[in-house]
Amino acid sequence: MIKYHIPPIDLEKEENWINNYIRHGWRLKRIRFFKYEFTPKKTDIPLKPGEIEPDEDAFLIRCDARSFKTKADFQEYITFLLDAGWRHVKGDWRQDIHYFERISPNASEELFSDDASKSARYMRQAKIWLASFFVIAAFSCSYFLTIPYHLQDLLNIKAQYLTPGLWEMEGISFWSALLFETPFALVRSGAFNLLILAFTLLTLGRLLYCLAKAYTLSRKVK
């Protein structure tokens, strides 16, 4: 079974979304971008070296957010979690959200057992968003500075198509010329600028959400 889904900002919600399928007899096989592949619980997923035979009653997904300086540190991290009964399903070692599948019924049902470490997870997630915010913000600044835009151009996208005689063409030649020029017209009209701006604000929003979550949880710690 394949499901497409945009991961929510809150990792707890992401876990709940996946675990809902697991409760209904599915097992998470892999994630690629927005594509989540589930297989029936009985299916054997080939074991990697060192992995134990999973217990299907144990299946649950939990997430962590972590970055590593070296691949060896990452190896050490997933080996430790595997010892504790968690199989690494997805996550790049440099900087990512890591998905773990609980494969031993002896492991606790949570990956984090106190509010301090739950708060720390949101803090690490915020750090990841901060890094991507810097990249996106730098890109959008340089973009806004180099490409002139005027708000009134946005209202008249048609005028941004510069192919001579475009609007008099017909059939295939019209559509291919239109499609070819659309990206350029969007850039000229400033619609692309707005898109980049929206993306920058979205990243900032995610960053602030994670910070707020980390803060509320840390206040619960005695």
Binding site: T79, F80, S108, S117
Partner: protein, 103 residues
Amino acid sequence: MNRNKYLPLTETTFYILTALLVPGHGYAVMQEVENLSSGKVRVAAGTMYGALENLQSQGLIAPVPGPDKRRKLYQTTSLGREVLHSEAERLRYLAGVADRLKL
């Protein structure tokens, strides 16, 4: 050096430092904490990983060379042992007061 800045220790930290008086890797520490506390303290894997990271950056535990590259061995440092000792004194004193007052 002001040892008191580490005190009081959380129950989890106390058990981890105690477990690591002999060298051990992450999962062994998780099991030892459960044994020492007679099953009362169960630290989840992600929390344990973060706790070991924090204790290492505080200098209370340190990695020691071991046979397996994929499983880091840790041991309580001399600073960690001093802190553990101060904490034990503090707890003994409290327990003494509790006994005297028949609490």
